[in-house]
């Protein structure tokens, strides 16, 4: 040890990397590989102080397993819990699928910009969610429905690989029952029991009347499918700034330091994950 003649200067900034413990209140199995976790911070003050915009994300820590970013899939209007829908694709997501009610995880956030709510007031909103891509949209759908009169016509398109892969089935049914909401679901590969639409997400266009001039399109899904969705929307006449998507990138720190989620000159965790098509086009040339 050195002589303690030097006083250390201590920056009072809190440790942005340290999560807060949260309990799992409920685990709901959505599909064979997707579960929705309902979570609540253990510290009452933190739970009460936790506010977010639809489209923002949190970093979830699992004991001895690390941390990963997930979009919040519940609406900020439900203030005594938050939900994350997680597809089992890797180590951490595989581990959390073994967690049950009462188990604890760590959470920090919310991070990112969230959806541009101010642009949506008074407009029609078209949601296009491919697979688990419906999760971040669900937060916004629930939010818009809680303030229904402030928005125009709401159309929700969901595409899944097979009928068994459809997420938020109960929510989709509830939303569809509302008079002024149109929900359409399609599957890529059908089963004998399936009576609904078959085909890619882009096969749903004819199911709804969409007026490109006063509609904002909000899209989330695998890059393979959303690029076709963009192309069709542009062909229909959507302005580039009215096509809004949320991007998935490898994220480590969530606070704009680690460099992993960089896209062009932007960082997905700070400037995103929500970008308009116009912004994405500018960023795309520099991946």
């Amino acid at each position: 040890m050195k002589d303690s003649a030097q006083t250390l200067v201590r920056d009072t900034a809190a440790n942005v990397y340290q999560p807060y413990p949260a309990s799992i209140l409920e685990v709901k199995e959505e599909t064979g590989d997707i579960k929705t976790f309902t979570l609540k911070f253990k510290d009452k003050e933190i739970q009460e102080g936790f506010t977010f915009r639809p489209g923002q994300f949190v970093l979830a820590s699992l004991f001895n397993c690390g941390e990963a970013a997930f979009s919040i899939c519940s609406s900020p209007t439900f203030s005594d819990y938050l939900q994350l829908s997680i597809k089992k694709v890797g180590l951490l997501t595989g581990e959390i699928h073994r967690y049950a009610e009462g188990d604890e995880i760590g959470l920090r956030g919310p991070y990112g910009n969230g959806f541009p709510l101010e642009l949506l007031y008074g407009s029609n909103v078209l949601f296009v969610g491919g697979g688990i891509g419906l999760a971040p949209l669900r937060s916004l759908i629930q939010y818009l429905l809680s303030k229904r009169s402030e928005f125009g016509q709401i159309t929700i398109f969901h595409g899944a690989r097979t009928p068994g892969d459809i997420v938020f089935e109960k929510d989709l049914a509830t939303w569809d029952k509302q008079e002024d909401v149109n929900v359409e679901t399609t599957v890529y590969r059908s089963t004998p029991e399936w009576k609904g639409n078959v085909g890619p997400l882009t096969s749903l266009w004819e199911k709804a009347t969409i007026s490109p001039s006063n509609t904002k399109a909000i899209i989330c899904g695998h890059p393979a499918i959303i690029s076709y969705v963009f192309f069709d929307l542009l062909k229909m006449g959507f302005a580039e700034e009215n096509i809004i998507s949320t991007l998935e990138r490898n994220m480590k720190c969530g606070v704009g330091k680690c460099g992993h989620c960089s896209i062009g000159s932007k960082l997905t965790c700070i400037h995103g994950p929500v970008f308009t098509y116009r912004e994405m086009k500018e960023l795309s040339s520099v991946s």
């Binding site: 951490l92 899944a160 690989r161 890529y188 795309s284």
Partner: protein, 418 residues
């Protein structure tokens, strides 16, 4: 006490010895393999201090270590606890070079803006920077071109200029002043003669650079989209993908975050240096990778250093230390890339034209006849193919951009419906 002092070279070791007693002292040390590296020095008598060569690794590793603990965690009776780690001791970095100081100033901005990084900032506010400007630029150095050296006029805590048998010591900031005041008996005030001698040394050093690297032109070419896109494919055949350029770069600061289990019940969250040159850097759970190809990763690195940093911090994040030039045996380094970009801009190769042509035909924006005509015209006009289409009124810049974006995002397998 005046702001310019003289330290007789004979007293350097004694002064450093005093420092080492109260601080963690980091200085350039020549090891038994002949490499000079920044090392923690506790006993001045056991080491050979080397102020002649530029250390192979940057000193920024002491502000942002190879790995560090962010917090500790444990699990007891099903409950998950997190506990803080304490900051470390006060540090003096001695024998820094102006380029490395500039790198630290850049890192200061990165870790200060948006969310504050408590680890870097705590360490930084407990670090004293002593600069030793280079009188003799090394073979691959270009700090003068990068606007970061060889001498500094501010930012350092202390600056030691070698005047042969003595150092001219300039006090830059209060922390430096405190250090000198504490052991003021080593120092005498500098005379005008000493200051003149320093001035001569500066002029002499500035005239000795072997490398002139036009970072500004290269940055502009990037910003104006004038960089030949085939360059990255070409560089990818030379790059071995080892990531050494990012490990020796003083401004590279990317890191990974992971858990390091200690036992069944506890562990620590750590961050470790990471590199955008490695394929796993951007790979997502599930396998999709936005920067799958090596050429994309090389492109990213140079865009970041030369264009994005300029946009964000109003200067490129290359400080001209020359380390990447020395470490890369494929010569995918800053000097060569900047030279190539300055030379080859706007000269689109025929391969790139054909690739763009194919994309445009595939998306149905032009017919193959129109492509053929445009390629023939291009052979005489020498214009880039895209420009040729725009000038002929066949396509708009937007349509070309859209086609490229569309093409780029379609993975090879059709099996990924969601």
């Amino acid at each position: 006490m005046p702001d310019e002092l003289i330290l007789n070279k004979e007293h350097l070791t004694s002064f450093l010895r005093k420092i080492a007693r109260e601080h963690r002292l980091i200085a350039p040390v020549k090891n038994r393999y002949g490499d000079t590296l920044f090392e923690e020095v506790s006993c001045l008598d056991d080491i050979s201090l080397d102020l002649e060569s530029r250390p192979a690794m940057p000193p920024t590793h002491f502000l942002l270590p190879q790995d560090e603990t962010l917090f500790r965690y444990k699990r007891e009776d099903g409950q998950y606890y997190f506990s803080e780690v304490l900051p470390e001791v006060s540090t003096v970095l001695f024998g820094l070079r102006s380029c490395d100081l500039w790198a630290i100033f850049l890192l200061d901005m990165v870790f200060e803006q948006d969310f504050k990084d408590p680890f870097y900032l705590n360490r930084r506010s407990n670090t004293i920077l002593i600069n030793n400007p280079c009188l003799e630029p090394m073979k691959n150095c270009f700090c003068k071109s990068a606007g970061s050296g060889p001498f500094l006029t501010e930012g350092y805590d202390l600056q030691f200029t070698d005047l042969g048998d003595r150092f001219l010591v300039e006090i830059g900031r209060p922390k430096g002043k405190a250090l000198v005041e504490k052991w003021d008996y080593f120092f005498v005030p500098a005379t005008n003669k000493d200051k003149n001698k320093q001035y001569e040394a500066i002029l002499e050093a500035e005239s000795r650079f072997q490398q002139v690297v036009d970072l500004n032109t290269a940055s502009l070419r990037f910003i104006n989209n004038e960089v030949d896109e085939t360059l990255w494919e070409e560089l990818a055949t030379r790059c071995q993908g080892c990531g050494a350029c990012t490990y020796v770069c003083p401004t590279c600061h990317c890191f990974n975050i992971a858990d390091r289990p200690i036992s069944e019940t506890e562990g620590e969250r750590i961050r470790t240096k990471d590199s955008c040159a490695l394929p796993g850097f951007t790979r997502l759970a599930g396998g999709h990778n936005p920067r799958q190809k090596r050429s994309q990763r090389i492109r990213r690195r140079f865009y970041h250093k030369l264009a994005f940093a300029k946009e964000k911090y109003h200067r490129s994040s290359c400080v001209g230390c020359g380390r990447c030039v020395e470490v890369c045996f494929g010569h995918v380094d800053m000097i060569r890339v900047v030279e190539t970009i300055c030379e080859k801009a706007e000269k689109r190769s025929s391969a790139a034209s054909l690739q763009l042509g194919e994309i445009l035909v595939n998306t149905g924006l032009i017919s193959s006849e129109e492509l053929k005509t445009a390629l023939e015209k291009q052979a005489t006009t020498g214009k880039p193919l895209g420009t040729q289409f725009i000038d002929d009124g066949l396509l708009t810049r937007d349509e070309i951009g859209r086609a490229l974006w569309h093409q780029m995002n379609i993975p090879s397998t059709a099996e990924t419906a969601d």
